[in-house]
């Protein structure tokens, strides 16, 4: 009984080697003429669909005011405690507004719970995904960075109304 040295012994065809190389090269050659999936980031950017969960943003109404009433539910539900809200009183009809609204983007895990819990449709996940910081302080996004005009967020809001 001969001892089997390998899992599988090469056939003669395989041992000749050249045909296998030709097979490989022809696959490469075929792929060169297929459509490309890669992009030249950052010159070219990938625009995700409405279902994508990028960084959370606050919805800014057309009159420049935020929808958020600072109820604090997003902050409560946030698993990594990324959101800090300080409410305050305003003269507007909705008497409460966020004096401070900060998301620590180093903590954010893009889970989308904040968006899901929001009773006012005021915080939604955007399509922004390229976030880079050089220090901790830069990673804390205040209202200035979070507020995004509602007309840029229509497709996400539409998606939420359909699937939430």
């Amino acid at each position: 009984m001969g001892v089997k040295k390998r899992e599988k012994d090469f056939t003669v065809w395989e041992r000749i080697y050249i045909p296998e190389i030709v097979k490989g090269l022809s696959l490469t050659l075929k792929s060169m003429f297929k459509p490309k999936f890669t992009m030249k980031y950052p010159e070219e950017k990938f625009i995700p669909s409405a279902s994508y969960r990028g960084r959370p943003v606050l919805v800014m109404e057309n009159n420049g005011e935020e929808r958020c009433v600072a109820c604090g539910l997003c902050s409560r539900v946030c698993p990594p405690l990324a959101i800090e809200v300080q409410a305050s009183e305003t003269e507007r009809e909705k008497e409460r507004y966020p004096e401070k609204f900060e998301i620590n983007m180093l903590r954010c895990i893009f889970c989308g719970f904040c968006e899901e819990v929001c009773p006012e449709e005021a915080i939604v996940m955007s399509k922004d995904y390229d976030l880079a910081f050089t220090n901790r302080a830069d990673a804390i996004y205040g209202k200035d960075k979070l507020l995004v005009p509602v007309n840029q967020l229509y497709d996400r809001i539409e998606f939420l109304r359909q699937y939430k």
């Binding site: 109820c71 604090g72 409560r76 800090e84 409410a87 305050s88 008497e95 409460r96 804390i140």
Partner: protein, 561 residues
């Protein structure tokens, strides 16, 4: 004792008790909105409906007197359906304001909507709209839409505050609460209405929108507004005190607390003018120095005076522990005979409800500890005269802003060669002091106060400082405190460099011959209980959450205060 049966359990009750009272005593919760243990029975919310056998209809447990042999069902099909129906009625016109309502999180209507309601409304019509954001008084905001007309606030003003100011007007779904013409909800107890309001109709204007209740930690404490020593709770977020609420203690303050205690006794803790470390006057200016330098310089300055040239002024705002160590420092380390404290009596402050004329929390404590001059020592008046006559050249004052109370003292104290002050905030007294030590506020330390009845009560740290760590020293933690790291803006915020006065004095004693050996507040209290007769056999466990009445004290003494 007579008995009746509630949910198949035999329950003992005293004659005249209602079903809800007897049930509560035995730990069975019958839901209610309008009933309050300290107020008269109104019976208008219908939430406490229960089934009593042999009665034709469901009855309200809050006004039905329990009777021998009664068989009551609080969990039967009929009662559950009735509760659901009552909740449905309440929710017809209650607005969906929870996201902007301060009561959210401690709202009875929210809780019961989960527990006793199927959570669906069959009402499709427009809700009734009423006035929102109506200031009923300087401290209370009213939202008529949220009101469920339980009348607790009205009954509170009539029965507890003894100042009828509120009433219902109109009927049916238009019913609302207003103040009487020309009146405002401005009695000295008005904020209690916001506590007893089961919904968010009455909210505290002082606290409005400051924080969500679930974001705060709460710590059992004592109000320092007067010698009643109302049991209170300190609510803290981001290491900042945001509100005080009363804590139930039938023997002291029942469920209540006055507005002065609630609004005016915490702001100085968060204030900007807190003393942020030890200060020593150099070339006319107060300069911040290290603790070591402050101790050694203070000690050498004190040593340069004759022991009879130094006067010690303790404080009824400080705890028993602070005053005891202060007295010990004065008598056994310095050997001075001049020791006294200033009483703060405001004849216009007290009333027949809770407030007392003595506006400090610990006057009786100071008396019991013997904060008074030795036989040949000088009392407060004597000390002031002594300063004028240059007999007293140095003074050591803890935790009392004497000059603001009596501005004439400023001229007297400037005569001193050395003025050492322990203070929480910069004030008129510190402005002429030579050494200022930062003392911890009542929300940053452990200790005890003795109220006017002779009841010893505990305070506990609610705010973390450099000296008191939130986790290590067992302070109550909010969710944010538990999971924060030092990189989070909220976690390390506002940690102040302040210490209890007894700790400062203990460290200072190391520079003299006779060093104190106190490590914990408990050590100080142990020594107090050994040395002071009134405190015999007491410790913090015995005092507990509700305090304990001192038995060994002269009754006249407590009445005098």
């Amino acid at each position: 004792m007579p008995k009746f049966i509630l949910d198949d359990k035999e329950i003992e009750f005293t004659q005249g008790q209602t079903i809800i009272e007897a049930a509560k005593q035995h730990g069975i919760d019958i839901p209610y909105f309008c009933w309050h243990p300290s107020l008269s029975v109104s019976g208008n919310c219908r939430m406490c409906l229960v089934e009593v056998e042999k009665m034709p209809k469901l009855v309200i447990a809050c006004s039905t007197i329990a009777a021998e042999g009664m068989v009551v069902h609080s969990q039967s099909q009929k009662t559950i359906e009735a509760r659901n129906a009552v909740m449905e009625f309440f929710l017809i016109n209650h607005p969906l304001d929870c996201p902007i309502c301060d009561e959210a999180g401690e709202c009875k209507l929210q809780d019961y909507a989960y527990q006793h309601s199927v959570g669906e409304s069959r009402f499709v019509e427009e809700k009734v709209h009423k006035d929102k954001r109506v200031p009923l008084g300087p401290l209370v905001m009213f939202d008529a839409e949220r009101c469920i007309s339980c009348s607790r606030c009205i009954r509170f003003c009539d029965e507890i505050a003894k100042d009828p100011e509120l009433t219902f007007i109109k009927r049916g779904d238009r019913v609302t609460i207003v103040t009487y013409p020309g009146e405002e909800l401005d009695n000295p107890y008005s904020l209690n209405t916001t506590d007893i309001c089961p919904v968010g109709a009455l909210t505290n204007r002082d606290f409005r929108f400051q924080a969500r209740v679930w974001d705060m930690s709460d710590t059992k404490s004592i109000c320092i507004g007067c010698s009643r020593g109302c049991n209170s709770e300190i609510w803290v977020r981001n290491n900042e005190v945001l509100r005080l609420t009363p804590r139930y203690n039938e023997d002291v303050n029942s469920y209540w607390m006055c507005d002065h205690g609630r609004v005016n006794t915490y702001k100085f803790i968060n204030a900007e003018d807190r003393v942020k470390g030890p200060f020593i006057r150099k070339e006319g200016n107060l300069i911040q120095v290290s603790w070591e330098e402050a101790y050694s310089q203070t000690a050498s300055k004190l040593k340069s005076f004759n022991k009879d040239e130094i006067a010690f002024i303790a404080s009824p705002f400080a705890t028993c522990e602070d005053n005891y160590v202060f007295k010990k420092f004065a008598q056994s380390i310095i050997g001075s005979k001049h020791l006294d404290f200033m009483r703060h009596v405001d004849p216009n402050f007290g009333d027949d409800i809770l407030r007392k004329n003595d506006t400090t929390p610990n006057t009786l404590g100071c008396e019991l500890l013997g904060i008074s001059p030795n036989k040949s020592g000088l009392n407060l008046e004597g000390i002031f005269n002594g300063i004028k006559q240059k007999k007293i050249k140095a003074a050591y004052i803890i935790e009392d802003d004497l000059i603001t109370v009596n501005p004439e003292l400023e001229n007297i104290f400037t005569e001193l060669d050395l003025l050492i002050v322990h203070s929480t905030n910069f004030n008129r007294t510190t402005s002429i002091a030579d050494v200022v030590f930062p003392s911890a506020t009542y929300a940053e330390k452990n200790g005890t106060f003795v109220n006017f009845q002779g009841r010893v009560q505990r305070i506990r740290p609610a705010v973390a400082s450099i000296d008191v760590d939130r986790a290590v020293d067992g302070l109550s933690l909010s969710r944010l405190d538990k999971f924060g790291t030092k990189y989070d803006s909220w976690a390390e915020k506002n940690k102040r460099d302040a210490k209890s006065s007894w700790k400062i004095l203990t460290s200072l004693s190391a520079f003299f011959n006779n060093k104190f050996k106190f490590n914990l507040t408990e050590d100080v209290f142990d020594e107090i209980s050994k040395n002071i007769k009134a405190f015999n056999k007491l410790d913090y466990d015995v005092i507990g959450e509700k305090g304990i009445l001192l038995e060994n004290i002269n009754k006249e003494q407590s009445i005098k205060v």
